[in-house]
Symmetry: C2
Subunit: 110 residues, 2 copies
């Protein structure tokens, strides 16, 4: 089981697709998770328990990982999540910053 | 009919939602339409006939308009499409530029 968990799929930097990144970040809860990770650094998945029901958090984290936005590192019994800041900055300069900044804009309808 | 066509829904600047913009631009054909509009300026919808079958183009243009990314202006028998550059820059500074720049990145998998 540990071995399988260590083999969680992550796209290589060059495989990260813009469509997948934008789709992953089009969901408000996933943007909140990313914002929290950027603020607090690598965190166990339990750190997002307040964002949504546990099964939804797992789903959101899997979507972010598969899109190449986050990395999941298995550390014993914990799954540690971080944002792939360097990979995203290298692949799509300025994109993550612009989206995170846009997330802070107060919306009249959101 | 003309009257109805003139009443196509456009969100106000303050109503433009980040989730809707990212979702609209998560689709490659829609990003191509936006890139072409930015290059060529306001264009009739026929200008995108090479991007996809006509019904799909109509669908994509509606999605972009409803998300607040583009404006559709009825000019007689033509529908003229433009990108809401000022509205987007005011609402989410740098976002459109970052996405357009990212669209130019050659992807190994896209």
């Amino acid at each position: 089981m540990t071995v399988m968990a260590k083999e969680l799929h992550h796209p290589e930097r060059e495989q990260i697709e813009l469509s997948a990144v934008l789709e992953a970040l089009s969901e408000p809860t996933r943007r909140e998770i990313v914002a929290q990770l950027l603020e607090q650094g690598e965190s166990p998945c339990q750190a997002f328990d307040d964002k949504a029901p546990k099964s939804n958090v797992s789903y959101h984290l899997a979507r972010l990982r598969e899109a190449g936005v986050t990395r999941t590192r298995v550390a014993g019994a914990y799954r540690m999540i971080s944002v792939r800041v360097d990979d995203l900055a290298a692949r799509f300069p300025g994109l993550l910053d612009a989206i995170v900044a846009a997330s802070r804009v107060k919306a009249s309808a959101e």
